[in-house]
């Protein structure tokens, strides 16, 4: 312990100064370099990349502030008392609790990691992670606005998303819970006081979730900027593969759950069920989410969880679409 303290004091790498230096250099070089970086593809990529991150920023910060609060102020006892003891009941309760968090998907990934570290059943926390961005009031209202006069679409989205989240939770009840818990416990930050625990957790989660968000946003922006839009549209335009096409589109475009209804509504050439598929898949699996989940839960986890989620989401959208739309 003592040697570590000493090592930290030695300041082998002046990290903070380097961070500041990079930013100052970028700002100063702007005038020199900008003319070489004005190609239309790069400009479009950069605009979409920055827009995605700025849009996510308030929700990400809200998410990491909540995850800090969970780590610092909610004891494991209290956490376990919040959810029913019965595993199925816990998953169902966590799914419905998604109604309460008015945000997009970026904030809910770190929160669910902290819920697990705080003593919540992993399956229940994963259900919450999938349901919160899909069924919260803001998303439901924006869906209603995007599909005026079609309340069936809002109901179908709500039901299909909630059922997807609960089914995923039930599936993961059988998974190796201990591995997920161990991983979550590794990420625990203990400060000397509650407020330091809050700050350390929020900082840790912001850097981790934010870093992976940057990767996901960069990939999604590249697909938008470098693929002719017509190619993406044709994916959704072939009736037989429209459902799979819309699901693929939702995964690669990585649009925020509060905006995806407007995009879905603009695809008038596909069936309502295909539109529904776009809205059920998007908030649960997309490039930025896969990236963030592999950061919080590990790459091994994400490589199983994301494809299964996609399959369940498509199946639920088909079933509910066939029933309601």
């Amino acid at each position: 312990m003592v040697t570590e303290r000493l090592e930290q004091k030695r300041r082998s790498l002046p990290g903070f100064e380097i961070v500041v230096g990079i930013v100052v250099a970028a700002a100063l070089l702007n005038r020199v370099v900008a003319p070489y970086l004005s190609g239309p593809h790069l400009q479009t990529w950069a605009t979409i990349f920055v827009a995605t991150l700025l849009q996510a920023m308030p929700f990400l910060v809200l998410g990491v502030a909540m995850s800090g609060a969970i780590a610092a102020f909610i004891s494991a006892d209290r956490m376990q008392r919040l959810l029913p003891r019965n595993p199925v009941g816990a998953v169902a309760t966590a799914g419905s609790a998604g109604l309460l968090l008015p945000g997009c998907e970026c904030g809910s990934v770190p929160i669910s990691g902290r819920l697990i570290a705080g003593g919540a059943r992993p399956a229940a926390a994963l259900t919450f992670m999938l349901s919160a961005p899909a069924i919260n009031p803001v998303v439901l209202v924006s869906t209603a606005v995007a599909f005026p006069g079609r309340p069936g679409m809002v109901a179908a989205r709500f039901i299909a998303s909630l059922v997807t989240a609960i089914v995923m939770g039930l599936l993961w009840l059988r998974a190796d819970q201990q591995r997920i818990v161990d991983r979550a416990m590794q990420r625990v930050q203990h400060g000397a006081s509650r407020w330091w625990t809050f700050a350390l957790t929020a900082r840790h989660d912001f850097l981790q979730a934010g870093g992976f968000l940057v990767l996901g946003a960069a990939a999604a922006a590249a697909i938008q900027a470098f693929t002719p839009r017509g190619v993406l549209d044709q994916l959704g335009g072939i009736p037989v593969v429209a459902i799979l096409g819309m699901a693929t589109l939702a995964i690669v475009l990585s649009i925020c759950s509060e905006a995806d209804a407007f995009i879905a509504a603009s695809f008038t050439q596909v069936s309502p069920t295909a539109q529904l598929t776009f809205m059920v898949v998007g908030p649960t699996v997309d490039l930025k989410l896969i990236s963030m989940q592999s950061g919080v839960f590990g790459g091994r986890f994400a490589s199983r969880f994301a494809p299964v989620t996609a399959i369940v989401a498509i199946a639920m959208a088909l079933a509910v679409g066939w029933w309601l739309l």
Binding site: P58, H190, A202, C256
Partner: protein, 240 residues
């Protein structure tokens, strides 16, 4: 752990990202990317990051766990947040323009929407009714009779007409959340006095011909131009 990123570096990233976010919110530049209504949430988010960042840089957090290095691994990925800052200052991305508009999809949402009857036309200014492209397109697609014989004044930027007419397309982007979900709004201008450079903002006066060209994936109403004047980019380049 050797590879751990130190506390003050981690704090530095939060501080810088927070300051840049707050700077974009205060300067108004954020409106090139997201909605005007996001100003306060961005300020709050930036402020939170600045406070946590400053605390990490200037007070060494007393911790009993930080030494085992997991925090450091997370922070290494977190250095990627600097790509966001560097992109803003080096590439200085402009609002979406003529190149992005060329990807198609124009007007599709408005043409597909079931709209209610629009309110009465605004009072004309200098003989022309001023309206946004959203209103103009809604009328042109769903209530064309309300535009019959009405001289209008529109604002947008110039984008080429790939269908090879003699005119150009007056364009503005619209989005629900941010520029990542943006689609272009376009009106085809025929017989303009000249064709402005791509991305040049213009105020155009003219009249709807009643004609709609393009296909179902991108219908475009046609306007005959009677007046055209270059103008500067509006503070809010998008129309919501």
């Amino acid at each position: 752990m050797v590879a751990a990123v130190k506390q003050d570096t981690q704090g530095g990233v939060l501080l810088v990202v927070g300051l840049v976010t707050a700077h974009l919110a205060i300067s108004g530049a954020f409106q090139s990317y997201v909605r005007t209504g996001l100003r306060i949430p961005l300020l709050l988010a930036g402020g939170f990051l600045v406070v946590v960042g400053l605390a990490s840089v200037f007070y060494r957090a007393p911790t009993d766990h930080d030494a085992h290095g997991h925090g450091g691994a997370a922070a290494r990925v977190g250095l990627l947040m600097l790509v966001f800052v560097i992109t803003i200052y080096l590439v200085a991305p402009a609002p979406l323009g003529a190149f992005a508009a060329g990807r198609g999809d124009q007007n599709r949402a408005i043409a597909a929407a079931e709209t209610v009857a629009p309110p009465d036309l605004a009072e004309p200014v200098d003989g022309h009714v001023e309206m946004g492209l959203v209103e103009f397109l809604g009328r042109a697609f769903h209530f064309p009779e309300t535009l019959k014989g009405v001289p209008v004044r529109l604002i947008g930027f110039a984008a080429p007409d790939p269908d090879g007419s003699t005119g150009y397309r007056l364009t503005r982007f619209t989005f629900a959340c941010c520029a990542a979900d943006a689609t272009p709004l376009q009106v085809l201008l025929v017989d303009p006095p000249d064709i402005p450079a791509d991305d040049q903002w213009v105020v155009v006066e003219g009249m709807f011909t009643g004609e709609i060209v393009g296909d179902d994936l991108g219908p475009i109403p046609v306007l005959t131009v009677t007046g055209q004047e270059p103008t500067s980019e509006p503070t809010v380049p998008y129309e919501y």
